[in-house]
Symmetry: C2
Subunit: 355 residues, 2 copies
């Protein structure tokens, strides 16, 4: 019996999460897996109702459950609040920290039926299947931040980037293990020619290599990696990065597919995993029943695989998504000539129907 906490959040979050719930119900019915779900307030909507974007009750529910399914948070409405009340620094970052999810997995995968959606030439991205493993609870995101007045006027901001051997080792192990289940190639990204933290990063990752002789490890500077993702992204299998580099490179990698409405993510390492689409809250299309629920549905697949160890059920969901795409159904964001346009709800229903 698995307990899932739902945090639909803001913008299109509630719609896509509803789609994912529909699919979870189908999985439950067909496979007998027992799942309970409860919803909690999180993000801008939580601020509006309770005065804080991460209510204690929400955090308690998340920590008590087995996994968290998050929709999306944020929007212009909350952009001018003091920093600690905004969805990002007031809710998302503290949630990651509290859950202890130090390993963020972001697949970048091209569905054959959508290869033309990429802005890259077909031969460059066709068959692309890489996974970014991003450290998620350290680095400059969680360092000290201070702003001081200068005597001559203006300010100086000083923030710190911190990493310990232990923090690097645990996320590197996740990446090695994952590479082992995939194509056995691991690229560790850093800026070792400039940053001391990157030198430690490289030392620690290299030190683990002997324990994973079956995994081919190489190191790449972050600026070169940003180039290689444009030049030849198919050279990569698993990419391992610290927090900020991973934020940038995983977004770059996801856009290579041309259809980020399709891409899920998993944040692991604590007792409770956190699963969410990589797309944002898209306030401009919220409430119109046109958002693509597939990223959220594939986040459910990652939850089944990584939190519940239900590989069969995860694959079931993924096959259902592929089948519906192959039959020509498309939400607006991935619409192509000759295909059939469906709403958020219809897409979720079609996928649930295949399960």
């Amino acid at each position: 019996m698995f307990k899932i906490t739902l945090l639909p959040g803001d913008g299109i979050g509630p719609e896509v999460t509803a789609g994912a719930v529909r699919v979870l119900q189908a999985v439950q019915k067909c496979t007998g897996v027992e799942i309970t779900m409860q919803e909690a307030l999180f993000g801008g909507c939580a601020y509006d109702k309770t005065g804080t974007p991460l209510p204690e009750e929400t955090l308690r529910l998340c920590l008590e459950g087995d996994a968290v399914l998050l929709g999306a948070v944020g929007g212009p409405r909350w952009d001018n609040l003091p920093v600690h009340l905004r969805p990002e620094r007031g809710a998302l970052l503290p949630l990651r920290k509290e859950l202890g999810v130090f390993a963020n997995l972001r697949p970048s995968l091209i569905f054959p039926s959508l290869a033309d959606a990429s802005t890259l030439k077909r031969e460059v991205v066709d068959g692309l299947d890489l996974m970014v493993v991003r450290e998620l609870t350290g680095g400059i995101y969680f360092g000290k931040k201070q702003r001081e007045d200068l005597p001559e006027g203006g300010y100086r901001v000083v923030e710190t980037l911190e990493y310990t051997t232990g923090e690097i080792e645990r996320v590197a192990r996740v990446a090695f293990e994952l590479a082992r289940k995939r194509r056995c190639k691991l690229t560790s990204v850093d800026k070792a020619n400039v940053l001391e933290s990157s030198r430690l990063w490289r030392e620690v990752v290299s030190g683990l290599a002997a324990e994973y002789p079956d995994v081919e490890l190489n190191h790449m500077l972050v600026d070169n990696c940003a180039m290689q993702l444009v030049r030849n992204p198919k050279q990569f299998d698993v990419l391992l990065t610290e927090n900020m580099f991973g934020d940038i490179l995983s977004d770059q990698a996801s856009q290579l597919t041309g259809s980020i409405g399709m891409l899920p993510s998993a944040s692991l390492g604590g007792k409770v995993g956190l699963f969410e689409p990589i797309h944002g809250s898209a306030p401009d299309i919220a409430g119109k029943d046109i958002a693509n629920p597939i990223a959220s549905i594939l986040s459910v697949a990652m939850m089944l695989r990584y939190s519940f160890n239900l590989e069969e059920e995860a694959a079931l969901v993924e096959r259902a998504v592929s089948a519906v795409l192959e039959e020509g159904y498309r939400t607006t964001d991935i619409m192509q000539p000759g295909m059939r346009r469906v709403s958020t709800g219809e897409m979720a229903e079609l996928i649930a129907g295949k399960i």
Copy 2:
């Protein structure tokens, strides 16, 4: 009378710099501009000969001249030296700091005859012409770096990212001025939803906007920018970034062209400007007379324009490059079927001949 200090450096640095010197000589002969050049040791080769990658004599020559033309530095031979002796942290970063070149200009430009070299679809990059203005002497590159032993074994690294109002303002002004001479669009990149330095960055840049009412300013988060550079790079005119973000995004942007052997850079703000190709030292092809000298030649054009204020002469060099490309001459890195392959020296000669 302009005094140029040449720092050919390592790998292909000397070859491409020789090509640029050839073109400078042609400019001198045809326009009557008076130029003197003197060469100095810098990088790995300087370490080999003098025990330090940035000899005092070199720094003195650079500071006494009007501009510095750098080839490239670094290579596997020097990768295992202690950090302060390596070409990057021992020479390149100190040189930037000593020259006070806080504004790094990196154009990303597609030559019509080379549009097919991009891995992106032609319509996505055709006519691409953006300029990254990267802060070059601050941020985490020049913060404190310390490594401490942990009681339980292993290390903690703490480094600082620092910015002051003044540091942000001066580089932002360069970007606004540049936008004004181009298409009047400025995109300032930051991570204001997480970093305090980015919040200061956004405040300072916004505060300047009133002084440049003709420039359309917008702010973009760095992760979104990495996506937008893949999705629709032609939306950009000038991109303004702090040091580390600029390192990553400018390399990503340059690779969009598919021919980074073509791209120059200028580092400005001090008394003496620093000009260099964005490509590296490419030790694997060094000494073979096959490297592309065009990035170095176009760096000379930037020098003529930005350090010497010789717009006509700069344009002359740029037109010479375009003309030779249109006639079908190509170095190996940009070779296409039906074109004529030439060596480094031949390419430089052809371009000099057009002047």
